[in-house]
């Protein structure tokens, strides 16, 4: 029953009482519409029902309704019906776009402000098998990922989620600098852009333009005093024999790097060395082992100097490069191989 102003002594008919009852139950007389419509004052207390196959609007203007007036709005047509604020304001926590069979109550707080209380439950955004219900700036769906992928947090996506390949377990060793890198012609050779959890460095057939030049391995080219090692760094006499006594050092600290040999000159002999470093993808303490051979103090090829060390590095960054360096002269032969494993 449309809103009325009753007068004293007015008598209502049975039909009017029935209509009044229907309105009280949230139903009541219906003004069926088939095209876009602008609410009028007489719609207060009635049901405005839209039935159109096309998109339509129901417009709400000010100065037509009083505080406390209500209008029931229903959309029974296939076209979407949108409740549109004309000169009045319309607030809602739901949506003002009504699909077929959506509806709700337009309640006027004042002559110029209404609230639309939707009777429709929030629409599910899910459409496809495997979809996940999530949220971006509104209810949203995350489509199922590829087989064997896992759900992963990612703040760069709209929903904060993505599907990603699960991290793999440990892998075997890979030669990072394919074919090795020649040392010839340089005093320092750096292999960069390394990303590995463990690193092995192998230097083969090295020699130097300066007799007895020392050879070092440096992670991240560091020459600060971060290397502590226990082991043998043995120097023999100039004439190698089975009874040569080596000078055994128990604690070796160096700011040049990890020593792996003293080189002969002019390719009269060749030496090599090996270093293994663990936890290279992390900061902090790392274990290393090293061994290498070297020429004697006169620079001959008898390889009397032997390094056999194990020790600790303390680093403030992951290892991303390995440097082979000599402190005197240039390398005139040799190859470095850098292996990585994850």
């Amino acid at each position: 029953m449309a809103k009325q102003t009753f007068t004293t002594g007015q008598v209502l008919s049975a039909a009017q009482m029935t209509s009044l009852q229907q309105t009280a139950m949230g139903g009541g007389s219906t003004t069926a519409k088939t095209t876009s419509y602008v609410l009028v004052a007489a719609d207060a207390g009635t049901v405005v029902q839209m039935n159109s196959a096309s998109a339509t609007t129901i417009t709400v203007n000010t100065a037509l309704f009083a505080a406390g007036d209500t209008v029931q709005i229903q959309n029974v047509g296939a076209g979407v019906c949108t409740i549109t604020a004309g000169t009045a304001t319309v607030s809602t926590s739901a949506v003002l776009t009504l699909k077929q069979y959506d509806g709700g109550t337009l309640y006027f707080n004042s002559t110029s402000a209404a609230i639309f209380f939707s009777s429709d439950a929030a629409d599910s955004p899910l459409t496809t098998k495997g979809d996940l219900f999530t949220y971006s700036t509104a209810n949203d769906r995350l489509a199922v990922g590829a087989n064997a992928t896992v759900l992963t947090a990612d703040s760069t996506t709209a929903t904060g989620l993505k599907w990603a390949t699960a991290s793999s377990g440990a892998t075997g060793w890979t030669l990072l600098n394919a074919g090795g890198t020649a040392l010839t012609g340089a005093a320092t050779i750096t292999i960069s852009s390394i990303s590995a959890k463990q690193i092995m460095v192998l230097v083969l057939n090295a020699s130097s333009t300066v007799a007895s030049a020392a050879m070092y391995i440096r992670p991240n080219s560091l020459t600060t005093a971060i290397y502590d090692a226990f082991g043998n760094a043995g120097n023999g006499s100039s004439t190698y024999s089975g009874s040569t006594i080596f000078d055994k050092r128990c604690l070796y600290q160096s700011s040049n790097g990890i020593p792996i040999g003293d080189m002969p000159n002019a390719v009269t002999g060749l030496v090599g060395g090996y270093v293994f470093i663990d936890k290279t993808d992390q900061t902090g303490y790392k274990n290393f082992t090293a061994s290498g051979s070297g020429a004697d103090n006169s620079g001959s090829s008898t390889g009397e100097v032997i390094y056999n060390l194990g020790g600790i590095l303390e680093m403030s960054a992951a290892v991303t490069s390995i440097t082979v360096a000599t402190t005197s002269g240039n390398f005139d032969a040799g190859t470095v191989y850098v292996f990585g494993a994850n």
Binding site: T181, A186, T188, I189, I191, S192
Partner: protein, 73 residues
């Protein structure tokens, strides 16, 4: 270009670049080389002195170095 360089091989790009040593690095290398040569010269001189002293003893005994090696086995 200085006679000392750093060769940098980037395993991601496969590119190799050459960086000449700075003046400070060159000075350090030349200093290291001079110290090493001085050390080797000292060691060589000491070894020559030892060899000379050994030969004096061998001459007194009337033996050669091969004789000593045969005796010691």
């Amino acid at each position: 270009m200085t006679k000392y360089v750093e060769k940098i091989f980037d395993i991601e790009t496969g590119e190799e670049t050459i960086r000449p040593y700075t003046a400070a690095e060159v000075a350090e290398m030349e200093n290291n080389e001079a110290e090493l040569k001085a050390k080797l010269a000292t060691i060589h001189a000491e070894q020559l002195a030892k060899d000379a002293a050994r030969q004096v003893v061998l001459d007194k005994l009337g033996l050669s170095a091969d004789d000593i090696a045969a005796l010691l086995g």
